[in-house]
């Protein structure tokens, strides 16, 4: 049996344009999430996701069933990120400054803490998110991409290696390094040896010393 996503891509390749909507359904969130992890800017992430769909539509006849559908789509995403944005090196930095401000439009209202939520908790979570976002943006690009795919998309290392054109060993070491760097910059409750508690951190995570012989 072909994978359902592969079938959708094959049908699109064969000229069944009606299925394109379903392909967008399937990949919209994963792509927005991926780009958001890379740049931290929701608007830019959506623009990139749209561009991936445009490229996917243009390249629809190039899909071959030998490739996993995820690989096909995310390779386009990776190339887009390299071609357009990373080469310019302008917007990610800009994004890290102004994204997440009050410029959000009405669609994002859903993301604000509602009246039912505990405002202090919500504030803590928000702060937490901001710290995580800053820590992610501090990571080297390669580590961020690997983390976005391995954790954010729960992909297997082999698949990530295919998408990013790097050996599996490199994927592994980048994941390791990325996690170590994140812990360094986040410090405290998720750190390897530090003690203390962070505002808004999950309750009940005891801080103990790390393994002695690590």
């Amino acid at each position: 049996m072909t994978h359902p996503d592969a079938e959708l891509l094959l049908r699109l390749a064969a000229g069944e344009v009606e299925v394109f909507d379903r392909i967008v359904d399937r990949f919209e969130r994963p792509l927005v999430r991926y780009f958001h992890a890379l740049c931290g800017d929701p608007q830019l992430a959506e623009d990139c996701a749209q561009e991936v769909f445009v490229r996917l539509f243009k390249a629809r006849e190039r899909y071959s069933p030998d490739a996993a559908p995820n690989t096909f789509v995310f390779r386009i995403a990776k190339n887009l990120w390299i071609d357009v944005y990373r080469s310019k090196r302008a917007r990610p930095e800009a994004a890290s400054i102004d994204a997440g401000d009050d410029e959000d439009d009405g669609d994002r209202a859903a993301n604000l803490p509602g009246p039912a939520q505990n405002p202090i908790e919500a504030l803590g979570r928000e702060e937490d998110q901001q710290r995580l976002r800053a820590a992610l943006l501090e990571l080297p690009e390669g580590q961020r991409a690997v983390l976005a795919l391995a954790v954010g998309q729960s992909m297997k290392y082999e698949r990530i290696a295919e998408i990013l054109d790097i050996p599996v060993g490199t994927v592994k070491s980048r994941v390791h390094a990325a996690v170590a760097n994140l812990r360094k910059s986040m410090g405290v409750d998720v750190g390897s040896g530090n003690s203390g508690s962070a505002p808004g951190s999950a309750a009940g995570s005891p801080s103990k010393k790390g393994p002695p012989n690590a």
């Binding site: 049996m1 359902p4 079938e7 000229g15 344009v17 009606e18 394109f20 399937r26 919209e28 969130r29 994963p30 927005v32 999430r33 780009f35 958001h36 992890a37 929701p42 992430a45 959506e46 996701a49 749209q50 769909f53 445009v54 539509f57 243009k58 959000d104 669609d107 994002r108 859903a110 993301n111 937490d128 998110q129 995580l132 976002r133 992610l136 983390l147 391995a150 954790v151 954010g152 729960s154 297997k156 290392y157 994941v175 390791h176 996690v179 994140l182 986040m186 409750d189 998720v190 750190g191 390897s192 999950a202 995570s205 005891p206 801080s207 103990k208 790390g210 393994p211 002695p212 690590a214």
Partner: protein
């Protein structure tokens, strides 16, 4: 595994990237070494936060903007060409064009039109001839042979005047209407109208029961939703179990067909069990909290699967009936009923009528099966029947059966009828249980003892399902897990760690579960998909099943 190795592989294990063997060894070490255990917990917490880091909901204008960008690429044109309606319109235009240009077709059509008109006229005439005389008389096709009753015309002596038929409807004056009071008296005194029957004596208690059920339904729904969404907390699932469940769920997702079903025949099973295996797979997928698998995708696939399950219903109301294979039929129907029961709770009442029928039918099938000797697969099928009845009961499915009583009866009979010495001795592998069933020592209906909470079985006996490979039938393992989890305490702690290493040890690299055990008809028909779905369900007992 030492501490250094443990730290090295921790992140890969937690991301579900390591082999089952490494995962199991890591898990073992983590449990023994408190430092590594704490380290793992912190790492898991960090990964959890990274995983939860997501973009805000996509703007509503996302699609329309994308559509605009695609328009320049001919997307709309292609879409229009592809619409079936347009295709039909194009074909019709072509036909009209051909007709206009072809003399042959024109004459043919003319001939056809003549034939149609003639046929219609003939038909009208026929119909007229069959109408009652008075109506035909309005426009007679032929002169009426009877002489018209004319007062002036003198009847000829040879043809006497036929008497007019007597009017069939009596004149209105014949109907005796009384005064309003009389009519009222008459209506009041007519026996049929004294209809308000006295209330059955137990009606109040029934009402109370109904209210209680409704309340319980609401509570059950709330609890199940909470559990399935994994809201209770990371809820007693260890990272290894979570990773194993996630891999297995992903494998399952890859095996689903476009129509929503799963085919056991593709993985060492048989096509007959398609309904039951699909139902179990959907149940396994129904846990929204499997991290790392998009909840939206799961929901979409489950809906598709439920649509397919609905289509397997036959005239008698059986879901997935298989001719000549009663055990597999019962398994199919019971598993599908379980899936519908859980869906019913989650959606707040979907497919209620279907589910009520399914519960009744389940009871029928079960009784039919009990009337004869047990066959291969009966024990497992009966276990699923009991699971399904229990699921229907806790979901509060409206049914004429008193499920409380059915389950309580089952439990009492189980406790009374079973040869406990046989169980206590531990000598109860599947073939022997089968023999005991056939000999009438155990009623197969009640072999789901753990589900029915028959607490006469001591915990160590239940635990044998892990220690004795031949007892590791997936559904038995599932029931035993439910039972021991419900009892809690030290027994459950011991069992849980053993369960994880045992089950995760049977997970293959692709995420599916495959073990060696004494196969019966259901296990043979279900194959790897059956084992995998039940593996996920078993590992998920701590978050899925209430204590």
């Amino acid at each position: 595994m030492n501490c250094t190795e443990c730290v090295d592989v921790a992140v890969h294990v937690l991301l579900g990237q390591e082999s089952a063997e490494t995962t199991a060894r890591w898990h073992e070490h983590r449990k023994q070494c408190s430092a590594c255990g704490a380290e793992a917990a912190r790492l898991a917490e960090l990964l959890k936060r990274v995983r939860a880091y997501d973009a805000p909901p996509t703007r509503a204008s996302f699609r329309s903007e994308l559509r605009e960008r695609l328009t320049g690429l001919g997307y709309d044109d292609l879409l229009r060409d592809a619409r079936p309606l347009d295709r039909a319109a194009a074909r019709w235009a072509w036909v009209r064009h051909r007709v206009r240009t072809s003399v042959g077709v024109k004459s043919l059509l003319a001939a056809a039109a003549v034939i149609v008109v003639a046929a219609v006229a003939w038909n009208v005439r026929d119909e007229r001839s069959t109408l009652p005389g008075e109506l035909v008389g309005l426009a007679p096709m032929e002169p009426d042979p009877r002489p018209t009753p004319d007062a002036n015309a003198s009847p000829s002596p040879s043809t006497p005047v036929e008497p007019l038929p007597a009017p069939s409807v009596p004149p209105r004056a014949d109907v005796a209407f009384g005064s309003a009071d009389e009519v009222q008296d008459k209506l009041l005194n007519e026996p049929a109208v004294e209809a308000t029957p006295p209330l059955p004596p137990d009606v109040l208690s029934r009402l109370e029961l109904a209210t209680e059920r409704a309340n319980r339904f609401a509570t059950a729904r709330h609890l199940l939703r909470t559990r399935l969404r994994g809201e209770t907390d990371a809820a007693g699932l260890t990272p290894a179990a979570e990773a194993a469940m996630r891999d297995a769920t992903r494998w399952l997702l890859d095996q689903q067909f476009e129509d929503g079903s799963f085919d056991p025949a593709r993985f060492e099973g048989q096509p007959e069990a398609r309904t039951g295996v699909t139902a179990l797979a959907l149940l396994a997928m129904q846990r929204g909290g499997v991290r790392g698998v998009p909840a939206g995708l799961l929901a979409q696939r489950i809906t598709r699967g439920m649509d397919w399950l609905r289509s397997t219903r036959d005239g008698a109301g059986t879901l997935g009936a298989v001719k000549g294979a009663d055990a597999v039929t019962l398994f199919n129907h019971a598993a599908a009923t379980m899936a519908f029961a859980e869906r019913y709770v989650l959606t707040g009442g979907a497919d209620e009528a279907l589910l009520s029928d399914a519960v009744l039918r389940l009871d029928d099938l079960n009784r039919l099966r009990q009337g004869r000797d047990a066959t291969d697969g009966d024990v497992v099928a009966a276990r699923f029947a009991a699971l399904a009845l229990e699921a229907a009961r806790s979901a509060g499915v409206p049914t004429v059966l008193n499920l409380d009583r059915v389950v309580a009866q089952a439990r009492a009979e189980f406790e009374g009828s079973i040869d406990t010495s046989l169980i206590a001795s531990g000598a109860l592998p599947i073939p022997q249980m089968q023999a005991a069933v056939t000999a009438g020592a155990i009623d197969p209906y009640y072999t789901a003892a753990p589900v029915l909470r028959a607490t006469t079985l001591p915990a160590p006996t239940v635990m044998q399902v892990l220690e004795r490979p031949e007892l590791r039938e997936p559904s038995l393992l599932f029931c035993a897990t439910i039972d021991l989890h419900a009892r809690g305490g030290a027994g459950w702690t011991t069992f849980e760690s053993k369960l994880e290493s045992t089950l995760i040890g049977t997970q293959q690299n692709n995420g599916s579960f495959r073990a060696e055990y004494a196969f019966d008809a259901v296990g043979r028909a279900g194959g790897v998909l059956y084992e995998t779905a039940l593996g996920i369900l078993t590992l998920g007992v701590p978050v899925r099943v209430a204590k």
